[in-house]
């Protein structure tokens, strides 16, 4: 789409008296290859391109979007935006505003060694066939009889401009893999995912990502280990036990119980009817929620991460945010709207998933900071407990207090040693209990790719969740 259309949108809004306006040309090209039980399904090539325009006018905020790439289409969209902003501002004064940020001109892109646009469909199909060849083998007498494999290549390009003079251009390619596998253990059918927890293996970058991820080795190792666990697992112990969580679980814990509740729009109640509110209130910076070992951050600037960006969708520079330090809430995630309400500057958390979605506060890559221990040291410190390396089922309430994680790959720990696999241990616990009972972190940080959902209309967005193995003391463990 012609960048001049974005400049024209802002100029038109200015001419109509808008106190602020911005326009974002946002293009997403996604190629998805799907293999079901070894057979190719229709490949999917999705291209979405258009312009999203946000205006402040007469006390109201409006967002309008179109994919009609003409000056007339843009003018109509701007007129619609200023009209509905004025009518919403008049009917109910919403008292919205934006924090002051200095304007920027920037162009940035994620590292891309092998151009993602040159890949086509042949190579991804070949890779999925190879992975399916690995997965249809027998693993210790266990077969994955049903296999649904997906490989996705995405290219996201944006051009942002606002009435304060900011202009930011960006390009982020991403590659990710996910799968559903079904087997039968002693007459009971079981579906699992690789990676576990309905997540993905993925990074930002060009086609080189496939090699960097070592997909074939990863899938083989994971399938072997999970097949072994499914076949050999015994009943999980119950009771109040020490629990070690692996990076796959810890990343989700960080995302759900610290990341989401730290989103300032949620704290202000803006998402109350959708994703809910937060156990944190606006005055809760400095609140102690965990032990001195609790360190959680969100950082969009991690190279190769799924949530990678250098400027957000309001033209604010990205930066690492320490959300919890030594167990104390140290900052929230802000866009310019929430920063205005808090009378501070934005910390660059504004993102939109496509041209027809309003930018809102989002996580990028949320993780528990690594500690000094090895995983072995964590295990040695447990006389009787469990080790949950990965999960399948999880959920959390709408204030982010009441959460549950159910293990997929999990083991008994006895006298400081990992013993046999155990069947689907359940930890169902309160956020404060979780973080207060954290006593040690390992160094073994890993990240998982995931799609975070928020907003209405829904905005699925690429993130990483991560962290090291952590040890929780005295947690109630249940089993089905």
């Amino acid at each position: 789409m012609n960048p001049d259309l974005a400049l024209y949108a802002v100029k038109t809004a200015d001419g109509q008296g808008a106190s602020f306006s911005e326009a974002r040309i946002h293009e997403l090209n996604e190629t998805t290859v799907l293999l079901k039980n070894g057979e190719p399904q229709p490949a999917q090539l999705i291209s979405s391109k258009g312009i999203g325009i946000r205006v402040y006018h007469r006390g109201g905020l409006a967002f309008a979007a179109t994919n009609e790439a003409t000056y007339e289409g843009i003018r109509n969209t701007v007129e619609e935006a200023t009209r509905i902003a004025a009518s919403s501002g008049t009917v109910v004064n919403s008292g919205v505003g934006l924090s002051f940020e200095k304007s920027v001109e920037a162009s940035w892109r994620a590292e891309e060694k092998e151009n993602i646009e040159d890949v086509g469909l042949e190579e991804p199909t070949k890779i999925l066939k190879e992975l399916d060849g690995i997965l249809k083998d027998e693993f210790d007498g266990l077969m994955f009889t049903h296999r649904l494999l997906t490989l996705s290549l995405t290219l996201e390009e944006k051009f942002y401009v606002n009435s304060e003079g900011s202009k930011v251009q960006s390009r982020v390619p991403r590659v990710s893999f996910s799968s559903y596998l079904t087997t039968n253990v002693e007459g009971v059918p079981i579906t699992i995912t690789i990676p576990p927890g309905y997540s993905q293996l993925g990074e930002s970058g060009g086609w080189e990502v496939v090699k960097r991820l070592k997909l074939h080795e990863y899938v083989l190792e994971e399938a072997k280990r999970l097949a072994y666990v499914l076949k050999m697992r015994r009943a999980s112990p119950r009771g109040v036990l020490d629990v070690i969580l692996g990076p796959n679980v810890v990343g989700l814990v960080a995302h759900e119980s610290v990341g989401h509740p730290s989103e300032a729009d949620r704290i202000l109640g803006r998402e109350a009817a959708q994703g809910g509110e937060s156990y944190l209130k606006p005055k809760d910076i400095g609140l102690k929620i965990g032990s001195e070992e609790a360190y959680v951050s969100d950082d969009p600037t991690i190279p190769h991460s799924m949530g990678f960006y250098l400027y957000d969708d309001e033209g604010v520079a990205a930066r690492k945010r320490r959300l919890v330090e030594r167990g104390v809430v140290s900052s929230f995630l802000h866009d310019r709207q929430t920063a205005f309400k808090f009378k501070i500057e934005s910390n660059g958390a504004s993102r939109s998933s496509s041209f027809d979605r309003e930018p809102i506060v989002r996580m990028a890559n949320t993780f528990v900071e690594p500690g000094d221990h090895t995983l072995e040291e964590l295990i040695e410190g447990v006389s009787y407990g469990i080790y949950i390396k990965s999960f399948m089922e999880w959920n959390i309430d709408d204030r982010r207090l009441n959460q549950r994680y159910v293990g997929l790959e999990a083991y008994l720990i006895e006298n400081g040693e990992v013993k046999h696999p155990i069947r689907e241990p359940i930890v169902e616990l309160d956020t404060f209990t979780l973080w207060k009972n954290l006593d040690a972190r390992a160094k073994d940080i890993e990240f998982n790719a995931a799609t975070c959902g928020k907003g209405e209309p829904m905005q699925p967005i690429a993130v990483w969740t991560g962290g090291p193995s952590i040890r929780l003391r005295a947690i109630k463990v249940e089993a089905r």
Partner: protein, 443 residues
């Protein structure tokens, strides 16, 4: 429909045929969505989202590709078609290839199109103001979303299909939050303005918020649980997804290998309607151009059929149910048959139970068997001997959807349409009573 777009559709289909397509479909969807969001009793943003997309399915030599673009300039479409054919050539043939249905077909002549929703650009702001004015602002905070949508679509296929459809819908999801730990949620969903009850939903959410304030202690255990329509709709939606033959074939459905078996108590009958009045996803044709219809999924507790497109139908040795998705069939509007109980009679069946009015975050431990847990949110109440005793909060339900369907003890008479953030397939359902559900709280 913009004539230029119609011309483009025909040209795209002609070009694809010339380039060797054995099968092709071209679907244009033009959507205009108006949104007003509010929180803390104030409007936070108004939105208008206007999009037109071109969705194409192409098959050459049993190689299949689907593609979508929103770049509808002549050059953009030319590039799109070339890229599509080039991409298709690079694929491998699939044994799953099935020809598109051969028309022409006769389509339902009715539609769900209310001109007032399509044309009145100020309507939503006015209706939201009425809702916000309804509640005492010193006692309750209202948050929610009101949206209306106008969709016009047209499909052309190599199977002699050329048909159009247009529809409107309007919905409100509103949550009232009180000072004393109470909150309530309700929705109103319709395709016609006359069926839309924004004030009723707002009043109900507010009443629930006030009634659920000062929640009291409760014990973990096994309870009879009364699922209000919003909660029942979430579970029915999961059953609808599991009825997709694609999910069955992929081995990830809890309805796999259950055809013609009893999967629920006799009181449960579930249908999917391609078109139904006030069904927000109603349409007269599916993505392969077949006229949509009514399909029975569960009849008196017996699983009678899966939802199919042409590909899954051929694989399962049956005919399409007109639920395409070219890649994956999906439910349109799920409808639970009303039962014999009015609200009071249904509550009387409960000895020791819990009434839940909304829920979210249903996740599966094992999708294949339907083992799940979910979180009730907003108002929930302890029920003893048919009487609502007091509000409770912080609970989680878990179990297996299949087992749960076999423990349905009563189904209400009165049904409501539900569609909101958590329930994305519209569901018409009454209140449902399920026996023996595990209810837990966090450590």
């Amino acid at each position: 429909m913009n004539p230029r777009i119609e011309d483009l559709c025909e040209k795209v289909l002609r070009d694809l045929t010339k380039m060797g397509a054995s099968d092709a479909s071209v679907l244009v969807v033009r959507s205009r969505e108006r949104v007003v969001r509010f929180s803390d009793n104030k409007v936070t943003v108004a939105k208008t989202l206007s999009t037109t997309s071109l969705d194409v399915y192409l098959c050459k030599d049993a190689k299949m590709v689907t593609s979508s673009t929103s770049d509808l300039t002549s050059e953009g479409i030319e590039r799109f078609v070339k890229n599509l054919v080039h991409s298709c050539d690079a694929l491998q043939p699939s044994p799953d290839y099935t020809p598109l249905p051969k028309g022409p077909f006769i389509y339902p002549s009715h539609n769900n199109f209310d001109r007032r929703l399509a044309e009145d650009g100020s309507l939503l702001i006015d209706l939201v103001k009425q809702a916000l004015d309804l509640v005492p602002k010193n006692k309750l905070r209202l948050a929610g979303i009101m949206k209306s949508q106008t969709v016009e679509s047209q499909i052309l296929t190599t199977g002699d299909v050329n048909t159009k459809d247009k529809r409107t819908n309007i919905s409100l999801s509103v949550r009232a939050i009180g000072e004393e730990g109470g909150s309530g949620h309700d929705v109103s969903c319709a395709c016609w303005l006359d069926g839309f009850d924004h004030l009723g939903a707002t009043k109900n959410a507010s009443d629930l918020a006030l009634k659920s304030s000062n929640p009291r202690a409760w014990e973990e255990g096994v309870y009879d649980v009364v699922f209000s329509p919003i909660v029942a709709a979430d579970f029915i939606q999961q059953v609808g997804y599991a009825a997709s033959a694609f999910e069955v074939d992929a081995g990830i459905s809890f309805l796999s290998e259950k055809l013609n078996e009893k999967v629920a108590t006799e009181s449960l009958t579930l249908r999917d309607f391609g078109f139904i009045k006030d069904g927000m996803a109603s349409r007269t044709f599916d993505d392969e151009g077949l006229p949509t219809r009514e399909n029975i999924i569960i009849e008196k507790g017996v699983l009678k059929g899966y939802l199919h497109n042409s590909t899954t139908a051929r694989k399962f040795g049956t005919s399409s149910t007109a639920n395409a998705g070219v890649v994956e069939p999906r439910p349109w509007n799920l409808v639970v048959e009303g039962g014999g109980y009015d609200e009071e009679e249904l509550l009387k069946e409960v000895k020791r139970g819990i009434l839940v009015t909304s829920n979210w975050y249903t996740r599966f431990q094992n999708p294949r068997t339907g083992e799940y847990s979910t979180l009730p949110r907003d108002a929930a109440f302890l029920v003893v001997n048919g009487r609502v005793e007091h509000p409770i909060r912080g609970l989680r339900l878990s179990g297996s959807i299949l087992e749960q369907m076999r423990r349905i003890a009563a189904i209400g008479k009165e049904r409501r349409w539900v569609s909101w953030w958590e329930v994305t397939t519209p569901v018409l359902t009454p209140t449902v009573l399920v026996k023996d559900v595990l209810v837990t709280k966090p450590y």
